[in-house]
Symmetry: C2
Subunit: 279 residues, 2 copies
């Protein structure tokens, strides 16, 4: 099948998915880019449709990925370049866009390992898709057990989350929960609730992060709400040696996650895959 | 003075500054937002002109900042809301935009402390203004000695750098240099050249970062060039426990900078200002 008309109803459906309203109504998301689709495929994420424009391919591995997806039941549709540009999200599109379902998970569906203390990330509200995607990338890299999203305003299926996450949106377990529900769930599992605040006495590198711990982060502009600050039993401080009083939220999150990794590697609670082999 | 016409030549001059070509030609930059202008003022950065639209103010501290800038010679101009929206960069403008000169510094103009080993950040090429701004914010927070920019493609005066840096563009010393010049300057000062690479044996938390060290970072897409990889005498690895093979460049930079802070605080080579007082 080749779509060459901008008036094709499929094209209109795809353009609709660029907006949150259309995405949420159809319960779908767009997955643009080779790396992102590869990670979705590796994670077993269902890609229902794949739109491709071979003239825009940037590498040589695309055909193998396309055949792999086709073999798992993905419907493959070729489109002309003007059509592709109509619904592509990126400035320099790579000629591959998939459509998949919005998968929603509840807290009790999360895979929580039995013998290792969980390392959790709780996003009270993150406004910028780029920050959320960067946090997912760090969560994947640190082997974070799961991300819990506590605010329906946070749009985890935004194409810029997919992009900034480089596809780790499909590999990090994510649950959505109301704040009270999340808090009760964490307390029932005796998870320490860690918040980074400039008023804390203890530096984040001096806190014991080898037990079950959830790092809670708030909005870029206002930080954590009082509800989560009150719930926090592990306040830590990231030293600020300059004039600014805060870091980017994705940066602060990565610092605490990696400090947990440093401590857990030293304690034998996590495994380091070691250096990557050179090609 | 009140500007109410979109045809006013000043408005056209300001709109020109939103584009790099106009900025570089005029050797000016835009400073939008209260926090960013406050940090510029605190740092003694010259703000030649200040455009304001009081109807858009979000706080109550703006008049004090305006008077402070006026007292240092800033020309203050009020504009109507349609005019402000014409040249504002942000989606939700705060009613304050300043214009300042592009200040360029050479390596030998950098303030290098004599008795503390320098902690330097070298950006070979960073493409996204948001990443560069976030890196400046982390450089400020870690007391980084200076940022050295080695690629003229990197646009440090982009309004999104100002914004993502939350004004720390004005507090972190920045020098521009050709790669060979930067390398010779670093070697003459016996600065170790650190690069994060997935092939390194040593983890970044196991490397000694208490001596003079420069963290070199490359483009988001391709990483460091061979030239800098060859020059690197301190290769380190950030453990990757998930499926992805790399982190966001601003995240990776912050991790290494803060590891240097952790080691320097423990060695008495840096001072932690301690917790911030509650209001």
């Amino acid at each position: 099948m080749l779509i060459s008309s901008l008036q094709n109803p499929r094209v209109k459906d795809l353009v609709r998915l660029r907006d949150r309203r259309g995405r949420d109504h159809d319960q779908k998301l767009l997955i643009e880019g080779y790396r992102e689709l590869l990670r979705a495929a590796d994670a077993g994420y269902p890609v229902h449709e794949l739109y491709l424009c071979p003239g825009l391919f940037q590498g040589t591995n695309e055909p193998a990925l396309i055949e792999r997806l086709r073999a798992t039941g993905t419907q493959v549709v070729e489109v002309t370049e003007p059509v592709f540009h109509k619904f592509a999200y990126r400035d320099r599109p790579e000629g591959l866009i998939g459509v998949g379902p919005q998968l929603h998970r509840r807290l009790d569906d999360l895979p929580i390992p039995a013998h290792v203390p969980p390392l959790l990330l709780v996003a009270e509200a993150i406004e910028k898709p780029g920050n959320l995607g960067t946090m997912l990338r760090s969560a994947d890299a640190t082997g974070t057990t799961a991300l819990i999203v506590c605010d329906p305003c946070t749009d985890i299926f935004n194409p810029n989350v997919v992009r900034a996450s480089t596809g780790t949106l499909f590999t990090v377990p994510i649950a959505e929960a109301a704040p009270d529900e999340a808090l009760a769930w964490l307390r029932a599992r005796r998870v320490h609730i860690l918040a980074a605040t400039p008023h804390a006495t203890r530096r984040f590198t001096d806190a014991d992060l080898t037990g079950p711990v959830a790092i809670v982060v708030g909005t870029e502009q206002y930080g954590l709400s009082q509800r989560w600050l009150d719930a926090c039993d592990l306040p830590v401080r990231i030293p600020m040696l300059g004039v600014a009083d805060s870091l980017n939220v994705a940066t602060a999150t990565a610092l605490v996650l990696y400090e947990a990794v440093r401590q857990r590697l030293a304690a034998g609670l996590a495994a380091d895959p070691g250096p990557m082999a050179k090609d």
